[in-house]
Symmetry: C2
Subunit: 136 residues, 2 copies
Amino acid sequence: MYEYDVYEQRCPTRMVLERLADKWVVLVLGRLSEQPLRFNQLRREVQGVSQKVLSQILKKLERDGLVNRRAFATVPVTVEYDLTPLGRTLTAPLSALTDWAETHIESVLTAQQQYDSAQGERDAEEVSPPPPRNHG
Amino acid sequence: MYEYDVYEQRCPTRMVLERLADKWVVLVLGRLSEQPLRFNQLRREVQGVSQKVLSQILKKLERDGLVNRRAFATVPVTVEYDLTPLGRTLTAPLSALTDWAETHIESVLTAQQQYDSAQGERDAEEVSPPPPRNHG
DNA sequence: TTTTTATGGTTTCCTCTGGAAACCAGTTCC
DNA sequence: GGAACTGGTTTCCAGAGGAAACCATAAAAA
């Protein structure tokens, strides 16, 4: 509806897409969709995130209204993160992505092997002779 | 199935997710899902991509078996890109992402404004008194 | 004739982000 | 007296991304 279009460079929706289309964001929101987690729990679950990036991401997600941050006055301070109702509406779309990765990984690996092994043939690249249509 | 898990750092599915969870990849595949496009057509449609990044992405997507590249021996060479059957299985999951961005953009913008205007209050941050559970 | 436009890229340069690791404050465990 | 836990911030460096130039070729425009 309206004039929003992610393909336009300055559209706010583009900013949102840039936030979501990030490997760490997908993984963090995926874990939080299962249960609330604390900072270091998240860090261990999402293998490979640095502390810096994780805290940056959580801050941005909180600002976007996708993640909720609660601090408890325990001995070492306890901070718990969980999804907001808005963040929950992302669970299905994002898990569709990770699901796709896990179900089609074999096809992708096969394609990569074929591509790599056909390297020599592409060096003698053959272009199709007939022009498809004019382009001006 | 099996032992694939995107949350493990060295899992091949993680590599695939890293390819998909990229703003340019989402936009490129989104346009190609509508119709085959040539290089410069894509460049104009996906506003903001540099030529370098676009060619890098198309090469990787071709290697992953998601995109098909065909060259025609026209006067200036014509190169056409379109989705493979495997790439087509990504159309629904990816358009779910862009659709989310366009339908929830208002909520996100509102959340950002609230977050920014409540900046002063968070400087005097109040932690919840009761500890939720022990953590060791 | 010279300039401009188009094709599809590659290469160079520079900035900005991401990752690794150190550091910080406070308390409990050994 | 350290070591380890909590949740981060800061520093430093390498690598990725964006802007722009460059490449070859040909048609169209001036």
